[in-house]
């Protein structure tokens, strides 16, 4: 009896794996669907398409990268539903996660998915992708021809950030840019001093390319940065843009929604080498290509790292921009209004008028379905 039953369990486990995988692969959906009632929404039905008629204020804080888009979404939603006011706050991903955990805000914006620790300590939290983002690497190197996009890869960037590469004319950089005349300007690495999803994404990229970086510094929303002469810590993406503008020789990682700000600050933008060693700039084509490789494997809770994916034409630092929300809202009305707003973001709000200025890309259909299924859990 014992051994028979044991093998039954083992067979069940073995059988469940392909079933699960096929289930994940089949969970596609249509982002433009007028009725959002996902089949996997769990008990209690789907997502309301409109807010309740009563006045409502929803509070958001967190990712500075998401802040701009959230501002557009808040304004657009208020135009459509004047009784709902959404107040974006910014402050960094770490703040977004902690305040959503504490229940002081309705939506925590984060460039990084929730950690296991956050989820285990607060199982009511969800991370719901709202759009696709990317991270650019900017620099302030004098003497380059306008329109030059230096080629950089994770290994070289890691060496710049750990102080091994001290000047822009270093052979490692020259080797990646054989047709560019590089000055001997000292490299000044800028990093975020606040807890940041951008830091998590950037150091993840460095860790995948440089085992020394992974071994010595690792990745996270906060990192014990190497002691490099002249290195600077900045607060928020705006601080990174300004800091880089003010510092000749800087290299900085900046969220893509600050691309226009970086351009206005006349910062150079690097083309990063992907896993196929192809230099790619962050644009719609390269970002969509990178994400497409991960759509079918995104799990139901949508926690997935898409750094350095397999797409040969993909940009290597892409991510979902997450709304960190609690399934337990203060009232049924707040829950309904939050669900309706989040659903609106991943459908109507995922169109060019709302995403254009932040350079975000819309979620693929299957990911919209997964997000809707998560949104439906809010009570």
């Amino acid at each position: 009896m014992g051994s028979v039953a044991r093998y039954r369990i083992l067979i069940a486990i073995a059988a469940a794996v392909p079933l699960m995988l096929s289930g994940a692969a089949c969970s596609s959906g249509n982002p433009a669907s007028p009725v959002a009632v996902p089949s996997s929404a769990g008990s209690g039905g789907g997502v309301p398409l409109t807010p309740a008629p009563a006045p409502q204020t929803l509070y958001e804080a967190g990712s500075t990268l998401l802040q701009q888009a959230m501002g557009h979404w808040a304004a657009g939603y208020h135009d459509q539903y004047p009784n709902v006011v959404v107040k974006p706050g910014g402050g960094g991903s770490t703040k977004g996660i902690s305040e959503a955990s504490a229940g002081t805000i309705n939506i925590g914006g984060s460039d990084a998915y929730l950690s296991s620790g956050d989820l285990v300590k607060n199982p009511t939290l969800l991370n719901v992708p709202l759009a696709i983002s990317a991270q650019q690497v900017n620099y302030n190197v004098p003497g380059l021809r306008p329109g030059t996009n230096l080629h950089l890869d994770g290994l070289v960037l890691a060496k710049m950030y750990d102080g091994t590469i001290k000047t822009w004319s270093n052979p490692a950089i020259s080797q990646l840019n054989p047709h560019v005349s590089l000055p001997s300007t000292p490299v000044v690495p800028l990093h975020r001093s606040d807890g940041s999803g951008d830091t998590f994404l950037f150091t993840s990229y460095l860790s995948t390319h440089d085992s020394n970086w992974n071994r010595n510094f690792g990745y996270g929303t906060k990192v014990a940065w190497p002691k490099v002469a002249g290195a600077k810590g900045e607060t928020g993406n705006q601080g990174m843009v300004k800091g880089c503008h003010d510092t000749v020789g800087c290299v900085a990682y900046i969220g893509i929604s600050f691309q226009n700000a970086a351009n206005q600050a006349q910062l150079g933008e690097a083309a990063l080498l992907n896993t196929a060693n192809q230099p790619e700039l962050p644009n719609k084509t390269s970002i969509d290509a990178a994400v497409a490789a991960f759509v079918s494997s995104t799990p139901p809770n949508e926690t997935i790292s898409m750094i350095d994916g397999p797409a040969s034409t993909g940009y290597p630092i892409v991510n979902y921009e997450y709304a960190i929300v609690s399934t337990q809202q203060r009232s049924a009305t707040a829950a309904r209004d939050l669900k309706a707003f989040l659903h609106w973001i991943i459908t109507t709000g995922n169109s060019l008028p709302y995403l254009g200025s932040s350079q975000f890309q819309p979620l693929p259909g299957p990911v919209v379905s997964l997000s809707d299924a998560q949104i439906a859990k809010i009570r």
Binding site: R6, I13, Y113, S116, I307
Partner: protein, 456 residues
Amino acid sequence: MALRTPSPTSPAASGPPGHRAAAPRGRMARHLSVSTTPTRLRLLLTGLLLACLAWGAVGAWTVLQHASAAQDVVSTSEPLSLNAQQMYRSLSDADVTATTAFLAGPNESLGDRQRYTADINQAATDLSNLNGAATSGSNRQLLASLAAISTALPVYTSYVSQAQSEYHLGYLLTGGSFMQVASEVMHLQLLPAAKTIYAQENAGLTAASARATGLPWIAVVVVLAIGIGFVLFRAQRWLWRSTHRRINYGLAVATAVLAACVLWLIVAFTVARADLQQGVGHGSGPAETLAQADIDAQLIRGDEILNLISRSGNASFLQDYHSVRGQLGPGPGTLLTEAAGSSPGGAGAQWASAAAHDVQAWYAVNDQVYRLDSESRYPTETQLVIGTGPTSSAAGFGRVETDLSHAIAADQVVFHSNATAGGNAFTGLEAGVIVAALLMALGCAWGLSVRLAEYR
């Protein structure tokens, strides 16, 4: 031989046993009829037969209840409690092993792979045993928790497989995020359900022990025996006086058998109860305390791993670590100190003392781990958590685990031997009570029918 008229104080004082009464009429006639000696003898015979057989039935049922409860403790409740504890340990260890192997690099060692596979197989076996023992009448919380593990275990293993596949394909971070999702399934679904199952099965063990050592029904049997003994005594005294001091051998045999059986019953029950209480006090009780200590140690280790892989948020398990450490001990009122003092001189207590000593060194490593984490020094933290050197957390945890495993095994041996001895004390008693009841009934029938025959 003629019967002597009983004294006025005898049970038959109202009638002349030496004479057959004339047939009376009406109420008085009925009264006189009941009062006649043959009628009294018949009533006495019927009453004693019924009482003996009823006592035999109640006595045998009581012995059966206690014996089966003792057997249940040894053969069902204790193994199920062990299965549940083992399942928790296997699940927790599987997650720790899978995560540390993943963090160590893409080339998972054979030892890690085998350990993970063995853990999952052991958990599946324990789950199967627990499912097999559960019935539709089982506690709903237990059934729900078993169902939760049956559902979540394949989900967990599939995420681990996917994490390993991604890693082997060169996508460290994607693999890492799948490993993270797997850990979430483990910590949010599997381990809480396993803990609930352990609590339920442990409560089942406690209840079975209480049934095996409980007093009410055995007291009822003894009180009934005293009642029957009193009736037999009065009947024999009546017959002794009314038959010129002749011994009624049938009733005497019934009385002797009753006394012997009650003595057997009391001795068996006293021995069984003492053995079982000894087994609980020095075996399953400390083992339960140690099992809880083991769960706490697993929790500290699991949280340490979670803390290590949680790079994208704010969560820190430092407070949880201090809280669980305060519960685990050593120190007054803590689990390890309680286990070490439960049976002084016993092997289990000695191993518990060893665990209380070894855990201090492990705590020192943990303190260092959390300090490094607060400074975001992940690589050093990682090496300290997953490294294999003698000063690593893995090594410290391993020593504490070994101590606790030995302690639990030693206490289980104590429990098992005592509980088995306790259960054996009931051997043959159920049949003995039935035979005794039949002998008592036969003795009464024989002894009283001889007297009745004198009236024909």
